[in-house]
Symmetry: C2
Subunit: 424 residues, 2 copies
C-alpha cells in the first residue's frame, strides 16, 4: 500500500507518523480550547468539536442518531460504544475530508490545530486493565532470573496467554511524570523485609489493545479481533524489588500499580490492517478455541530510548511487535473463556516484547540481566535500572512503502521518591 | 449498646437484620418504581427519591449543595463521593427520622416500601475490585493442598496482606444466577490441557470493604480505615481446576472471573463501630506503616448454607470475620503503598475467612479437602464441589444485646454449563 496523499502538506512526508493512512484518535486542549476529541494528520490535529459547526453534511450524518454526540465528549469511549459500523463510516469520512483534492477542504482547514500548540490527554477512560505475559523471549529471560532455567517457562505458558488483572486507576498518558515508589521489599541479603524506595525500578515495552465492543460470554478469536478498536504503546513501569518479594503466590500487585503510561494517540486496527502478520510457529498445538485463524499480529518496529537528566537519548532496545507468541485477539478471547464480561475501554497490555538478541530486550531487568551486566549508554554512563531524572520513551511505527503508521512517543520522566510518606 | 427503637415496628425485633442501629444502604425497584436508593429498616425500605418530595427540612438540608442530587441517582457512588461529613450527617438524619417518637414520622411513612415487594440491585458501581488472601487458616489450608505443608505459607505472608486485582465487571448482586464456566484445565491425570466445564466450582466466604473516599498516594492505616464507607458479604466464586492450571506464576485470572456475588445492602462502617475487635496476635511484627493502631476488624458471625435443587438448606460452615489476620484498613493501606490511586467504589475482598476447625472453613476446597473428604449434607447427600442447581448462600450478622446488625443474604444458584460455546 502506498502513501495516501492529503491536502495537509505535512501529512505527505515519509517521516511523519501521521499520514492519511493513519488518522489516529486523541484528546487535546490548547490555551484557547478545552479538551476535545481530535484526529492527528501530519503535524496538525483536526478538532472534531469544532468540525461540528462546519456544516459538512458527511460529518453531520455520522452524529445524526439518538444519544449524546460523541464528538462533544472528552474521551473516545462514547464513540467506541457506537459500534464498528460507525468506526468504519467515521474513518472513511475522515479520509475523504482530508484527502488531496477534497471538495470540503476549505471548510475543514479552519479546524486544524498545530500539534505544537496542543497538550494531549488520556484518549479514553480505562475501564479495566489487564496485563499479559505473552512474549516468549521475555518469559524465558525473566523466568530464568526468577526461578532458574529449568523452571523458566511455566507448564501452562505454551497453552494459554498468561495474564493478570492490573490497576486501571494507575494508567496515565505519555508525558506524565512518574515518581519512584516506596514499597515493602526484601533483598537476597536482607534478614527481614524493609520499607524503602524501589531501587530496581524498570520499564516494560508493550503494546496495549483497546476493547471497543463489549461481550458477555466466551468469544472466538475472530470475534475478539473484531472487538479491538485500536492500539497504543504501553510502558508497564515495574518495581522489580517489590515484585520479587510480593508476587508469590498471587502475582504482581504493588510492583505494577505506580503507573502504566500509554501513548496519546489510538492507532486504529483499521490503520494497522496493511501490517498484519502471523504469530510464530506453535511449539505445541493450541486448543481449538485459541488457534490462529489468520494474521492477527502486526509488524510494528519498536524502540526504547533512555535520556539521563540534561543529557541526550540513547537507544537501549529495538524489537518488533511481531515477536509476540500470542496476538491481542488470542488474549482477549482467552480473557472471556470463563464468561468474564468485557466492556468498552478495557485495556489489554501485550506483555513485554523482547526479541531473541540482547539488544532486543524490552526491559532493563533483561537488558542488564538483573543488574549483573549494566548497560552502557551512548554517553558512556551505565544503567542497571532507572535512575532519578531519567526519561524513558517508547517509539513505535509500522513501516509502509514511503510512509509509516506511527504512534507518537510514550514517555515518562522518573522523579525521586518522596520523603518517607509515613514519617514526620 | 442496646437496641435503638424505631416507630417502624418490625425494626424492633431481636431477629431483624435491619434495626435502627443498622440502616444499611441499597438500591431497589418495585413494579411501580424504577431504581431508587433506599435504606433498610425492619422489613421495609425507605425510598430516598420519594423522600425528597416529603418536605422534611433536615433531609432537604443534606442535598442543598451544588452538584447532582445524590438521591436521584441509581447507585450510592455519588453519595459516597460527597465525603465523610455527609456520610455522618445523613446517618444521623436517618436515625432521627426513623427513631421512636420522631416528629416527622407521618411525613416519612408514606415513603416506606415493603421489602417483600422490592427487587434489589447492585448498591454501587464497582470501580475496581481487589481480592486479598488474608485469612491465615485459609492460606495454610490452600497452601498445603497446592504446594505441600512445607511451602504452605509464602515467606511474605506474615509481612504484607497478599492481594491481587480481580475483575470489577464480574461483580453481581445477590440473587443473580451463576453459570458454571468453561475453561482450560489440566487434571493430574491429564497428559495435556482440555477445554471443559469446570468440575471443581467453589465458593469463597469473604467480606467486601467499599472504598468511599479517594486517595492518590500512600495512606496510613488510620486514614484507610476512615476511607472505608461500608461492608458487604462477598462470595468469590472460584473454579479450582482452572485456577490450579493457570495461576502460576501471575495469579488467578479466569478462575475468578465468572462472577463475584455481593450482598445487596451496604452496612456502613458507622453501623459496625460497636463491633470493632482486634486482629490476632502478630507472629512477626509488622513494619510500622502496616501496624494495627486500634481495633479494626469486626466481630461478625458468618455462615454458609448449601441448598441442592428442590431440597432444604444445610449449613456447611460457620466462622467469624474476626478470624482475619489483616483488617480491611491494613489491606487498603498496603494497596496504596506504591502510589496506586484508589477511587470511590473500589471493592476490596477480604480473602476467604476460615476458622481453625474443619467446620469453620470458608470454601468447599477446604471443607472437602480438595475433594478427598466429601461433605455430608443434612439431607444425606454429599458434596466435594458445587453441583448444578445448588444454591449457595452466605449469611452474616454482628450480634448486639437483643439486636443484630445483619447483611441480608448473599446468594447465587449454579446453572449448568452452556453447551460448548465454540461448537455448532
Amino acid at each position: 500500500m502506498p502513501l495516501m496523499k492529503s491536502w495537509v502538506a505535512s501529512a505527505n512526508s515519509a517521516d511523519t507518523p501521521f499520514p492519511l493512512n493513519n488518522l489516529p484518535y486523541g484528546v487535546f486542549s490548547t490555551a484557547e480550547k478545552s479538551r476535545s476529541l481530535g484526529v492527528a494528520i501530519g503535524d496538525q490535529i483536526l478538532d472534531l468539536r469544532g468540525l461540528a459547526d462546519a456544516g459538512i453534511s458527511a460529518f453531520d450524518a455520522l452524529i445524526a442518531g439518538d444519544g449524546p454526540n460523541p464528538f462533544q465528549q472528552t474521551t473516545w469511549n462514547a464513540f467506541m460504544a457506537l459500534g464498528s459500523d460507525v468506526w468504519t463510516a467515521f474513518r472513511t469520512t475522515m479520509q475523504q475530508l482530508l484527502a488531496e483534492g477534497a471538495t470540503d477542504a476549505g471548510k475543514v482547514s479552519p479546524h486544524l490545530v498545530p500539534q505544537a500548540d496542543a497538550q494531549l490527554h488520556m484518549p479514553f477512560d480505562v475501564t479495566e486493565y489487564t496485563d499479559f505475559y505473552a512474549g516468549k523471549n521475555h518469559a524465558m529471560n525473566v523466568g530464568t532470573m526468577f526461578r532458574g532455567p529449568e523452571n523458566a517457562l511455566p507448564p501452562n505458558w505454551l497453552h494459554i496467554p498468561i495474564g493478570y488483572n492490573g490497576r486501571a486507576s494507575s494508567v496515565v498518558v505519555s508525558g506524565t511524570d512518574v515518581q519512584r515508589p516506596w514499597g515493602q521489599l526484601k533483598g537476597p541479603n536482607d534478614d527481614a523485609p524493609r520499607w524503602a524506595p524501589s531501587a530496581r525500578f524498570d520499564i516494560e515495552l508493550e503494546m496495549g489493545a483497546i476493547v471497543g465492543a463489549p461481550s458477555t460470554g466466551p468469544i472466538s478469536v475472530n470475534q475478539a479481533d473484531a472487538n479491538i478498536f485500536g492500539y497504543v504503546l504501553l510502558n508497564d513501569w515495574s518495581a522489580r524489588d517489590i515484585q520479587a518479594w510480593e508476587y508469590q503466590p498471587l502475582g504482581p500487585f504493588q510492583a505494577k500499580a505506580t503507573a502504566t503510561t500509554i501513548s496519546p494517540w489510538i492507532v486504529t486496527a483499521a490503520a494497522l490492517a496493511p501490517f498484519r502478520c502471523a504469530t510464530p510457529a506453535r511449539e505445541k498445538e493450541l486448543l481449538p478455541h485459541l488457534r490462529d485463524t489468520g494474521p492477527m499480529l502486526f509488524d510494528i518496529d519498536l524502540e526504547v530510548t533512555l535520556t539521563p537528566a540534561g543529557s541526550t537519548p540513547s537507544t537501549i532496545a529495538r524489537t518488533n511487535y511481531n515477536e509476540m507468541y500470542y496476538s491481542a485477539a488470542q488474549q482477549l478471547a482467552h480473557h472471556t473463556t470463563s464468561g468474564c464480561p468485557m466492556r468498552v475501554g478495557d485495556l489489554l497490555g501485550s506483555g513485554t516484547i523482547s526479541g531473541p538478541e540482547k539488544e532486543n530486550r524490552g526491559s532493563l531487568l533483561e537488558l542488564s540481566w538483573g543488574g549483573k551486566e549494566p548497560l552502557t549508554l551512548e554517553t558512556g554512563e551505565t544503567r542497571s535500572f532507572i535512575e532519578d531524572g531519567d526519561t524513558l520513551t517508547l517509539h513505535g511505527a509500522a513501516k509502509g512503502d514511503g510512509f509509516q503508521v506511527g504512534f507518537g512517543p510514550c514517555t515518562g520522566t522518573i522523579l525521586p521518591a518522596a520523603t518517607d510518606p509515613f514519617k514526620g
